[in-house]
Symmetry: C2
Subunit: 334 residues, 2 copies
DNA sequence: CTGTTAGCGCTTTCAC
DNA sequence: GTGAAAGCGCTAACAG
């Protein structure tokens, strides 16, 4: 990499003159500016980012910590994050916690040494179950702001973005009820997560409001994703249901396939609604009616919230929790 | 962030003493080392990464540039990259080209200013169609090594990792032929890509070797992904086929759903094989038989190749192109 | 055993 | 209009 020093030497001027010239300083003559810029162009000079970061104590880099990139929801959020960050002149360093608290702590530790200006984070499953957020607090104490999304922690003061999980499930359940479904099962692979619990509550409330008894035997909690297929198969065989609300990203799709295989007509005999994104929803037949989580927008918003905090607002003023409304996209399975 | 300077001041010793003590230098007395470490611990001191990077002219950061994170293949490769990099003490900065040459060039430019030590890259579609790789060459000239994967360029000297696309398609076609399929269609949404072309050639060769006439009307090229569904539907309606080789990540799944909807029995009347990964392959009924691209391993290998280049090998010695063999995982659709 | 100094690449204040 | 010098945080060669 070419440096100011080298340019200065070749031009036989001082380093500071070169620096000023490249920054169009008033102090430098038009003539010199021209000479300097010409040579800089010739060598394709770019200011060293690391030196700038050191000088300015800011990296224009955001640390993004997500549980897994294999989850399509997080993939799409990351897509939005990268897009928006890139447009705003920020880079992202991505870490995956793989649902491990330890890895999440490590990542924060590792990046909180000047590598990044702040974090965007969705908590790992373990973080939520053991409810340990000391590492997040410590980051905030060091002056590194955090924006949490989706899997947020309650007892921490920072900006947050979540979808309206409770009402999303409430409305979805209602839409099943409106279609004369009265034996509505709930499938979940995410019962450990904050969002999972909210969605279950929304489901129960909708049933309650419609005077349908909440039958706990219709709630299928799947702890290991590998067991999902067989558990769903067994459940559908054994229970007389006419509606399913699948509150995670994948069990709805499985349910459609399994039901179809069993000769159950979807949506005639069984309506299915899932939480998912367009991409996956179209990979079933019929396509999965689903609750749109606005993943890409969430990503963009986290970036803007963080940049706003970094560039304008002090670290202790008016933290916001933004709740994104959701909508149901009918696609044939309900 | 606490600095050496602050520690030194509080301990009333010099900065270099603190630095040496923390690095367990022989020069420093055990007593002092203890004092220093204790205070460092107390303040949770971490050496400033940016300062270290500047000092050492290396960032331990890898720039990863992929076409899109929404493509499950790239998502999984990225997963492997992050895992391996993190284990080896490297961070990754992720950029998405979104299939645009311009964005790819920008990303390289932007990171080739000291932000990263090298690149892992899969070329954008546009990069491959217009075959413009000046930006890659320029990166190499600046001393920044590149490891390319999947979508590689021929006319560039760097390490590369690809799967054996030609033989993968050849073998898959053969496996269809072995199942008495003689009217085998090929579906592709990736005809502009190097890998797409190789796969088509493998398919044709297998037919040729089996004395089956290559019928170009059985090759369905889909240019816009949004049209995939309707084009596949129309194609299956209009053509009398008993086998499908889908050479991209999604059309195989669509084909299964569409065929099933049309009352065609899979795999009895129609065998389908796709290129895909486990995750998506299980979202259809029957599950999609597919060619495993070893995505996660590819990611890990790119990292190791790059680190090897960064830490051991000079930039001009023996570039390798590693070809990963593939295997077919039978899942019911063939 | 501890401290001073220089330098990584850059910006910026202050002299000239 | 140009240059010298300081400083961001760190390490390491060299002095003492």
């Amino acid at each position: 990499m070419i440096t100011l020093k080298q340019l200065a030497k070749e031009l036989e001027v001082s380093i500071s003159t070169v620096s000023k010239a490249l920054n169009d300083s008033e102090e430098i003559s038009a003539e010199t500016i021209k000479r300097v810029k010409k040579l800089a162009e010739h060598y394709n000079y770019k200011p060293n980012k690391v030196a700038l970061s050191l000088k300015n104590s800011r990296t224009r880099t955001i640390g993004v910590i997500i549980p897994s990139i294999l989850n399509p929801f997080f993939a799409r959020v990351l897509y939005g994050i990268e897009k928006e960050a890139s447009e705003k002149g920020y880079q992202i360093i991505t870490c995956m916690s793989n649902e491990s608290l330890q890895k999440e702590q490590n990542s924060i530790q590792l990046l909180a040494n000047g590598s990044v200006d702040g974090f965007i984070l969705a908590a790992s499953e373990e973080t939520q179950t053991v409810n340990n957020i000391d590492h997040l607090k410590s980051s905030l104490n060091q002056g590194l702001p955090i924006v949490m999304f989706d899997r947020v922690a309650n007892d921490i003061q920072c900006d947050k973005i979540i979808i309206d999980d409770y009402n999303a499930a409430y409305n979805a359940t209602n839409s099943l009820i409106a279609k004369k479904r009265n034996r509505i099962a709930l499938f979940s692979t995410i019962n450990n997560l904050s969002v999972g619990k909210l969605r279950v509550n929304g489901y129960k409330k909708a049933l309650f409001d419609a005077n349908i008894e909440v039958d706990d035997s219709l709630i299928l909690i799947i702890n290991k994703e590998v067991e999902a297929y067989s558990k769903i198969l067994q459940f559908i065989k054994e229970h007389n249901i006419n509606g399913i609300l699948a509150i995670d990203n994948s069990s709805g799709l499985m349910a459609i396939n399994i039901a179809t295989d069993l000769g159950i007509k979807v949506p005639e005999d069984l309506s299915v609604i899932g939480f998912s994104n367009e991409m996956l929803s179209n990979y079933s037949s019929p396509n999965l009616t689903s609750i749109d989580q606005n993943s890409e927008d969430i990503g963009k918003m986290t970036v803007n919230l963080l940049i706003d905090r970094l560039e304008n607002k002090p670290l202790d003023s008016d933290y916001k929790t933004k709740i994104i409304p959701t909508s149901i996209t009918e696609r044939g399975s309900s």
